[in-house]
Amino acid sequence: MNPKRSKPIFSRLSIQQRLPLLICFFLLFTIIVYGFLNYYSLKKATLMIGRERVNTLTEQISSMLGQSALATIKYLHNTAYMDQVSQYLATGGKQYGRETVDELNKLHKDSTWMIAELADSTLKTVLRSDKSLANVPVSLKEVLTYTHIGPDSAWAGKFYYVKGTTYYPIIASVTRKKHIIGYLVCWKILPASQKAVDQLSQLMGSGANLYIGNRDGGFWTNTIKPVSGLNFNAKIASGPFTFRDADGQTMLAAVQPVAYTDWLTVIGFPEKNLLSGMNGFMRWIFLFGIILLGIGAFAAWLTSRGITGPLNKLTGAAMAISAGDYSSHVSVDMERGDELGKLAHAFNIMEQYVQQTYEELEAMVDERTSALSEEIRLRETTEASLRESRQRYHLMINEVKDYAIIMLDAEGKILVWNQGAERIKGYTEKEILGKSFSLFYTPSDIENQKPQHLLKRAAKEGRVEDVGWRVRKDGSKFWADVVLTPIYNYGELTGFAKVTRDITERKKLEDEVAVRTAQLEASNKELEAFSYSVSHDLRTPLRAVSGYSVMLKEDYEEKLDAEGLRIINNIIINARIMGTLIDELLAFSRLGKKELTLTNVNMQQLAGLVTSELLHNETDGKYRVSIGALPVATADQAMIKQVLMNLVSNALKYSSKQADPVIEIGGSEDENETIYYVKDNGVGFDMAYAGKLFGVFQRLHSQDEFEGTGVGLALVKRIIDKHSGKVWAEAEEDKGAKFYFSLPKNNKQ
């Protein structure tokens, strides 16, 4: 488990859980330590007892085997000691042969005696019992290399395992005069039956195993069959030792040599058999430990509950208070004399105080809440309408297609981009947001830092308008009208609103108009030059014509007849008409370049002046002229006088043939303009020709009927046009005409 996490987990446990756990832990620890210590000391003692027992047992068995061997050896030794045996050997088999064989036959006491032979000192077999069942498994010579037999002695040799049978020899020396003259050799097979082994094993107890083997450790048998895989060195093993047998179980064993033989005895107890009693004891200890642990845990739980119960109660009460449950009386009922009782008492006092404070606070909160909720309601309403208007505003801005409406931050980076901007500049919102607005400026503007200057000026002056070339995404240019307005938030500059209009079309039109105007001015100049030449060069010869015809008439009147006089008079009259025509034409054309000098003109006074200037002949008495209340005009005094002059003189002229000519001059005004009229009861005209009235040299009457050049009304129209006013007429043939003209108020020209 992660050590970093284990600690928090334990600290997260409640005291009620922690206390029993702690107690259980210490109990368990004690039990385990105690159990282990006991186990090991007990094991040690048990094994020591086992070792002593196996040692003793081995000594006993070994001694028992030694005694058994000794009995057999003595028996053989006695035989070897017989006279007939030594005589037989001494005579080289010539005497006592029958007697010796009889003795040899006596040696076969039971079925374990397999062979009885007599060998001479050269170890050659010289006699053999009749009862010998098999051949000698191993030669005597070989046996004697391992087992030394002195004179007049006997010994049991080591085991030989030949063809499934375990043999062992018993050898006795045949001695004559302290010299060995031959050997009596008997071969026995290991006689043990399973039954005998089991009996022995039972005698030894604890599942003990008996092994007999050669002293050189080369062969081991359990007396029934050879045993292999005994994992110990019998030569060095002395006293108790342990080894693992062929089945792998640990054996506690002891080894002892068997007297009068070349044999070793080993007895082994399986260690687990020895320890089984101890293990039972340990199980009891363990069971007892579990019971103790259970009791301990339960006791700990009871104790901790006694502590944490009241604590939980206090916690619950404190939680209830902290959760805001002041309304019901929360207190801890605890009759205890210990620290917890004192704590509960202190808590109850505190709770009362808290409840009291809470009630006071509650009243205050109620008061503030009602005020606050009213404020919140008001704010929500305001915010909702604000949000709505913001959405509307965004929608509106986005939907505007004719204007690029862009919001910039204080550094000129683009924050908001509407559809109009996309349409005009070609960038989509996605690719332009966050970029600087200087992207729209021409390289030379960027070099001159125009975008930055515009931002500075806008911030300083509150608004800046700039008209000039801008660059679209595809590199094409357009003529733009840009308005930059700074946006402030609590006095801090947060950005700019930028509205751009593509006025390339307008610019084209303006350029065209400028070209046309220049052309027009040029043609006006030409016209002026023409006027000048007309005024000077045309008038001069005409004056000569007029002058010389007058001189002719003055100097040669007596010599001319009536026809000559009529002709000369016509020349003079026509020269005068032509002069008038030229003068009026010049006046008309000069108006083109004349600047208006607008003043407030007292039209009523002016009308009176004009009328009196025109009505100076004696015959003019027949005219009845009435002048109404004329509003003040904003006009060029000299020009407007010319207008009145022309209109009134026309009225006088065209009503001159009436018996009772009546001229009426009137006017009116509204918010935007002043209107004047001159009305007569003269010949009037057919309204069908009204369109021709104001053209130059256009006349509706012949020269014979009424004199005139056809320039007067054209001049009127030209003057009124210059004032941005209008002129029109109403008439009926033989009933008179009414000419109107209007002048705009506050004429700024």
């Binding site: 000077h536 005409l542 004056r543 000569a544 020269a575």
Partner: protein
């Protein structure tokens, strides 16, 4: 006052206009001491006693100069400028007589210091009337500084 003293200097390139002017002045008997020069250069020679007029006494100043504007060589405006920029001739009354009603000419003339400006009427009666009135005014009514 000496009789042969020139009273009117008429500067006029057009002989017909000059004839009509002289005729109008003669009608009212003012053309006796009139001299007619054909252009501006001759007018300046006469006034400053140069060229063909070098024998003339510079101090004999005409009582009035009737000056046409549009003339070959030196035009009337130039003559007027030289007259009015010279101390000795500045006081001579000059009347511009022209066919032109060009306002610029009128303004320039008054700026330089012309004493009168008359547009010649086309018809002879009007012309004669204007000329005779001028003659009366400058020769008889107006008291010269001299």
């Amino acid at each position: 006052m000496i009789d042969n003293k020139v009273e009117i200097l008429l500067v006029e390139d057009n002989p017909h206009d000059a004839e009509m002017t002289i005729r109008a002045l003669r009608r009212v008997n003012l053309a006796n001491k009139l001299i007619h020069v054909k252009d501006g250069a001759e007018a300046l020679d006469f006034i400053f006693s140069k060229g063909v007029y070098s024998e003339r006494n510079v101090d004999d100043k005409p009582k009035v100069i009737l000056l046409d504007i549009k003339m070959p060589k030196v035009d009337g405006i130039e003559v007027l400028r030289q007259l009015k920029s010279d101390e000795k001739t500045r006081s001579i009354p000059v009347v511009i007589m022209t066919s032109s009603k060009e306002e610029q000419d009128i303004i320039t003339s008054y700026d330089i210091g012309v004493n009168s400006y008359v547009v010649k009427p086309v018809d002879f009666e009007g012309f004669a009337k204007a000329v005779s009135q001028l003659g009366y005014y400058w020769l008889i009514t107006n008291q010269s500084t001299q």
